[in-house]
Symmetry: C2
């Protein structure tokens, strides 16, 4: 395990700006923030144990799982599994790794999952995209590729993600192949696998083998799977199929109960935490029973709900408390933490969107998250990926990276001779120290306008979204193709053609 090596690249098309630091991931030099005492954590853990023992969890449509748990000594009735207290925790702690790497085809972009590393991923899952030119619309594969390219240009993201939008112009049962190809072809960062069902997970592994070689994939994580429960307390065969496939292939699985408090979990934070921990540890123990030592993460995606309308709400105090508590629980369990980032229910990249976005990303960072999904672009509770919000959130990604780098206490940073030389009532604008440090001392986001009102007015009185609109188009124009070995490209295309020919197009999953 090596430290990330930041490389300085010129940001595409930015002759008026200094070099942007491009690091493979954030190496946090600051600590984490606690919201529960040891007693509080033990209480939540005991409650999760009680839930797993007394209520148990349903594993539907996948008899093999029931056999696996039965063989491990669990109490299985029909599709319901009851776990002895402490069983799941013990099973996980016996074999799950605390830290592992997910390898990118460009080794400089390989990410660490665990420890003090945080990996920021773009938006995942939206069937719609939004930009100020064309408005809100169903996403297409062309949008998908544009987003992959845009993300590749953003120095403060670390991962190409997965379903950066859902390309609904492609057949539902085959588009995962095109998405995987899009990541491999247009990005040289790590990317996610297909999450739904064992067959598609297998396709992702096949394609990864073409890129990395089968031997390499057998021994090194190169994909990433998020496995969501159907809360409360159900794992269905779509999710369990992918979970087993990735676990057997030594590829990381983030076991992530997704809940809306009040609908899919109790309306209280403490109740939700116990249920979420029960679901996550049951699934993580399954990963370890399927393949002891397989890489896995505890996922936290506990959202709140408007009790007036039932609509999901984001950037809320309760969601903050839940992700911070989840961080503490994951560290006690000894597995990396997967969470979510700049979520918002807003329909536009407006004040609501960024108040909620900043809240969500900061809470996940203070929680010590190791991978943060949806760190850019999410709107409408996940129905939309916004091109403009992607750029505005990217600034936030850059800011948290710089913030968690902590305070430089070098002699240069202490600046004692500059203070002595400047003296009372003078200014530092012309000091040698300022001239030596000004290119690197302060982080420079891309979307804010800090100019005077008069200058801002002269430049068209543009709000942040309007500026971001110009910015993402400029970034896309300056996208640099990382290239792909033509032999690999051909083999991937041939593989996709073969797989696609084996079944008719379908417009459902």
């Amino acid at each position: 395990m090596t430290s990330p090596q930041p490389t300085r690249r010129r940001r595409a098309g930015s002759s008026d700006r200094p070099e942007q630091l491009r690091a493979p991931y954030i190496q946090r030099k600051l600590g984490t923030f606690s919201v529960l005492s040891e007693e509080g954590l033990s209480l939540i853990e005991a409650n999760a144990d009680t839930i797993l023992q007394e209520t148990g969890m349903e594993f539907t449509g996948d008899p093999e799982i029931l056999e696996i748990f039965k063989a491990a000594g669990c109490d299985v009735k029909d599709t319901r599994v009851h776990f002895e207290k402490g069983f799941c925790r013990k099973t996980i702690q016996a074999t799950a790794p605390k830290l592992f790497m997910q390898n990118a085809r460009n080794p400089a972009n390989t990410v660490q999952l665990g420890g003090d590393a945080t990996v920021l991923c773009p938006s995942w899952g939206p069937p719609f995209v939004h930009d100020l030119d064309k408005g809100r619309r169903y996403a297409s594969y062309s949008d998908f590729i544009s987003l992959v390219k845009l993300h590749q240009t953003i120095p403060w993201l670390h991962h190409s993600g997965g379903v950066v939008c859902e390309p609904v112009d492609l057949p539902a049962n085959k588009r995962h192949l095109d998405m995987l190809y899009g990541h491999i072809r247009y990005s040289d960062r790590a990317f996610m696998g297909a999450f739904i069902g064992a067959e598609r997970a297998g396709h992702a592994i096949d394609m990864a083998r073409i890129v990395f070689g089968a031997d390499y994939v057998a021994n090194n994580p190169v994909l990433y799977c998020v496995s969501n429960t159907n809360a409360p307390l159900v794992l269905d065969s779509h999710m369990s199929g992918a979970l087993k496939t990735y676990a057997r292939a030594n590829q990381p699985v983030a076991c992530t109960p997704w809940v809306l408090t009040g609908a899919m979990s109790p309306t209280t934070v403490a109740g939700t935490l116990a249920q979420v921990l029960a679901e996550a540890t049951a699934c993580l123990s399954l990963v370890q029973l399927v393949n002891p030592g397989a890489p896995c993460l505890m996922g936290s995606f506990a959202s709140t709900m408007s009790m007036q309308s039932g609509a999901p709400t984001f950037g809320t105090p309760e969601a903050g408390l839940m992700v911070l508590a989840a961080g503490q629980l994951a560290r006690r369990l000894g597995v990396p933490l997967h969470t979510v980032g700049t979520l918002s229910a807003s329909k536009l990249p407006d004040a609501q969107a960024e108040q909620e976005a900043a809240w969500g990303l900061l809470m996940s960072m203070f929680a010590g998250a190791n991978l943060i999904n949806h760190a850019t672009g999410w709107l409408e509770g996940g129905l939309v990926t916004s091109f403009e919000k992607t750029m505005i959130d990217a600034d936030l990604c850059g800011k948290v990276g710089r913030f968690f780098d902590g305070i430089d206490l070098s002699e240069n940073a202490q600046a004692m001779s500059a203070i002595a030389a400047t003296g009372p009532g003078q200014h530092y604008l012309g000091s040698d120290h300022t001239r030596l440090n000004f290119m690197s001392a302060l982080f420079r986001p891309l979307t804010p306008d800090n100019n005077s009102f008069e200058q801002w007015q002269a430049e068209g009185s543009k709000d942040a979204a309007t500026r971001a609109n110009a910015l993402w188009k400029k970034q896309l124009e300056n996208y640099q193709d990382p290239g792909l070995d033509p032999a690999i490209d051909e083999e991937l295309k041939a593989y996709m053609t073969r797989v696609k020919s084996q079944q008719p197009d379908m417009n459902y999953f």
Copy 2:
């Protein structure tokens, strides 16, 4: 010192909403976040000591201060004072109180300054106001009164503040009287004094005596003064005059170096922290020398600067690091921490404004700030108070209050019987537990739209600022006059008439 007693009031004009919790201040149940180790903190303190000894600080236009420091054994040459290492810290720690109350005329609104309390204050100082109806314009006294009333309606603010906007339609040398009157008449919360010069500070104390009685004011803080240095390392007579007047009257002074890194302090975080600590401790020691035991706070207002344009920038990683370090330094010093909140350089209540606002307020909260100035409304780096942003930021104030209340671990909140009764694959929407808790379990902000896209569209496709525009007008319509004893009102008016008659109107300070 008693715990704050939250009182439930119906929010004005909100028959469709549950009661809003109105607490006199936030009592933080969560901890603080550290960005410096003990070694790092000692280094910054040692550097501040070196600056105070070797460079010293200028106290201009106020010979009495030089005599005060001379009498205390400091090395005074012309207007420059050099301090022995440790002198300022020792002087402060000998007599400064760790915690005190600022009393409001409605005792239910009295605030605690220090300990785990956080008091949120509105915007301070802007000469302009902005709303979506009338745009950006010079502020008037009518705007000032509207803002005082609006703030009074917001349950998540705790203090009426001071110059919520600068009423430039009133004579510059007299408007402080009208502003003080506006707070006393239209709000029943604590308010700030006049900060510029001894004479105006005296007027604030006179008016406070009319409201509270002279004996009460002599023994109880009822005002609040922010004293800014002219960084680097200068305190001028405008500020020192007010500082001395409030200190002698036992009224709190927040000694607050305001810096733009790179212009008024070194461009690095560590250098800025040492300079700021030097300035703050020099001024705090002055407060304690003037009146040992006088209430005081260490202030932190370290902003960054665009190194391209020299414009102030907000919501930056470096500003976050500086306020968090300041919190650690203030706790080691043993005085409460004064900081700043939802600052932004944006010209509009847009995505930039709220990304920066959320960053700033959260950092100050994690720093353990005891009073946060500018917790609502600030735009354009402090040139504008925005009516719409006031409402959007107010939600953020409510959210941090709820967040820092921590996680309820009561049996009800654990919800174990609800989880057992609901069971796998079911939902909690109809559960008794949800019905019993849904009115209070989840915080409800006022400005977000969480509805479906279709419903949002049917309601006019309004962004957050547009919704906030309707909201602040509704809040103002439903403003409830707290009333004021007519005898006190008459006496205040007579006092103002007398003071105003003693000098001609002037349009400069």
